[in-house]
């Protein structure tokens, strides 16, 4: 009873300004989730394997940016490009060393190798950079505020959705209209047949990891500007949330990952907006949504129904 009366109170008392502010917060969080979720979904689409190290790749990218700007004083736009390249390389190296040797091993082994890669990156960061939180460098252009009426919009909140949709568009273009994209789709449809048809699987998979990690780097940069504390454990929670976003949208489906990201981001913000007393259960929201969707649509919102081939 009390619960619902508070809910209605929250709705009726909410001013247009607050509502607009919540929408801005939700969209920026959602597009950030979407950006990182794409990386999960791409790897899964091709390898049918969850890249648990993806969140930690995001974390490493944050440290790269810190070193570029704060330690070496490279202008942020050059650092941005450098971080994308370095992170893409890191992704390729992880694929080469942790996943490729297990190409013909059972799926479980690759999964465990992914968890190992995740732990390795976390502990490596802990060892190299210490557990002390570092501050993500200030980029005034991106972190400054734009005031629209009484709504405060950080410049980055506009940049993030633009980046997400730009990446989405570029990615869809690559997948649907280029030769490598065609190879990716082929590998994703049937790995063995694609190999028989003369597609260089290792190359396709490497490129997938490179693209996924580059997107993680863009996501990490945006994440750092928005939430500027960097720790070795930074990637764990976003990794988990974005994985959920990818599953909600239908893992393996790029558009689905973006939709999942938005559902999660907006949902997390609005559950606090409309049910203030539930603010401590925000993380639970992601998991509850996941359970509900998996219950009614096990393949996710845009997922394709596949029949297990025997």
């Amino acid at each position: 009873m009390d619960f619902f009366s508070e809910f209605f109170q929250a709705i009726t008392n909410m001013s247009a300004t607050s509502l607009a502010q919540h929408v801005v917060n939700g969209v920026s969080l959602g597009s950030l989730y979407a950006l990182i979720a794409i990386g999960y979904t791409m790897v899964y689409g091709i390898l049918l394997m969850i890249n648990f190290a993806h969140g930690d790749i995001v974390m490493m990218a944050c440290y790269f940016a810190f070193f570029g700007i704060t330690v070496f004083h490279i202008p942020w736009y050059f650092t941005f490009i450098g971080v994308i390249i370095a992170t893409a390389l890191l992704g390729a190296v992880i694929e080469r060393t942790a996943y490729r040797p297990l190409r013909d091993a059972p799926k479980n082994s690759v999964l465990i190798s992914a968890i190992g890669a995740s732990f390795l990156l976390e502990n490596l960061a802990n060892y190299l950079f210490s557990g002390r939180p570092l501050r993500f460098p200030d980029i005034p252009l991106l972190s400054s505020n734009i005031e629209v009426g009484d709504v405060q919009i950080q410049a980055i909140c506009i940049v993030i959705p633009i980046m997400t949709f730009l990446s989405l568009w570029l990615l869809l273009h690559i997948v649907n209209h280029t030769k490598i994209g065609m190879a990716m789709r082929a590998v994703s449809k049937d790995y063995e047949i694609a190999r028989v048809m003369g597609i260089n699987i290792d190359r396709v998979i490497s490129i997938t990891f490179i693209i996924g990690s580059a997107l993680a780097a863009i996501g990490a940069f945006m994440w750092g500007v928005r939430y500027p504390g960097i720790t070795p454990m930074l990637g764990v929670m976003p990794g988990l949330k974005c994985f959920i976003a990818a599953v909600i949208g239908g893992i393996g489906n790029i558009k689905g990952a973006v939709i999942g990201g938005f559902i999660l981001g907006l949902g997390e913000v609005f559950i606090v907006a409309f049910f203030p007393q539930l603010s401590g259960y925000r993380d639970a929201f992601a998991f509850i949504v996941l359970i509900i969707i998996l219950f009614y649509k096990p393949t996710g919102l845009l997922g394709e129904k596949t029949t297990e081939k025997v």
Partner: protein, 386 residues
Amino acid sequence: MKMKKVLSILLASAVMVSALTGCGSDKKESAADSNTIKLGVFLPLTGDNAAGGELELRGIKLANKLHPEVLGKKVELVVADNKSDKAEAASVAARLIEKDKVVTLLGSYGSSLAMAAGNIVKESKVPAIGTSCTNPQVTANNDYYFRACFIDPFQGTVMANYAYNKGARKVAIVQEVSNDYSVGLAKFFKEAFVKLTGDKDAIIDIANYQTGDKDFTAVLTNLKAKNPDAVFAPGNFTESALLIKQARQLGIEAPFMGGDTWETQEFIDVGGKEVEGAVMSTAFDREKASTEEAQKFLKAYTDEYKSEPSALTAMAYDSYLIAIDAIKRANSTDPQKIRDAIAKTKDLEAVTGKTTLDENGDAIKAAVIKEVKNGKFKYLDFVDVK
């Protein structure tokens, strides 16, 4: 199998009987006339907590040097190392009481070490004064354990007083709901603030977040609409710094208040210019010593160690003062009488401020308020809690 069981029961009861009779006879002897009064000091001098233990031992030794006598007798310190180990803490405390026949125990650094000695202190009826063990469980349900420091949640009361003194009447709380420390501070803050204002709606919002959260924009947007005079947000320094940063970005201008966990360089590193003006409570500040005793302590410390004392050293010094003061008032070296006198400690002029022990045996005293100014923690104010 059965034999073993019987044996173990026998053994256990034998140990218990000997422990009971043992302390019964000890008490009479320890109170016997002699020229020295023995105070037991049990601190972690080796192991993980050795750094803290060492700093506290300095405080106790310094206090002993400045106040070497009570009731015309010399005070002798019996120092024992509890090795940062709970099992060791218990046996060391027992040894000090039974073998060395100390009349009062001082220590320890680390709440778990103090708790390990809790039962021994209680059963042998020899009082103990904790130095910097801040967990409420140390003194709860133990009439023989006291402490020179305040318990963590007490800082909530301190900040409520501060906020009230500064004219705040409507305050919002943002708590890290998965952190005992934060929830405890928030609870004490709420109780004290409601009492001070006499307005049961003085806390206009209590928002929660989880340890490790990065995005606080949703709770902060709600909070902004309620327009609080101030925000009390005790918690981990990283989360708190991000919280304040996002609050400023959303245009919330109300001051942010927190507890002593904020007093770390990382809070300023991560928070940057946005955490300027954030205020927090802490136990002791060397720049502004409030009592005469503190001046004496500071001078003696810098003479002896050629460096600045830490809050831990000051706290340990105070635990000695509390013991000496109680022995003086009890006019006896009987542990039971000393215990009763310690319980009545009131307005004792100690280094970390005038100290009174409450009904739980926890210190109630003035606290220091610090503020972030130009990227440094600066002394701001002093709050006396009535």
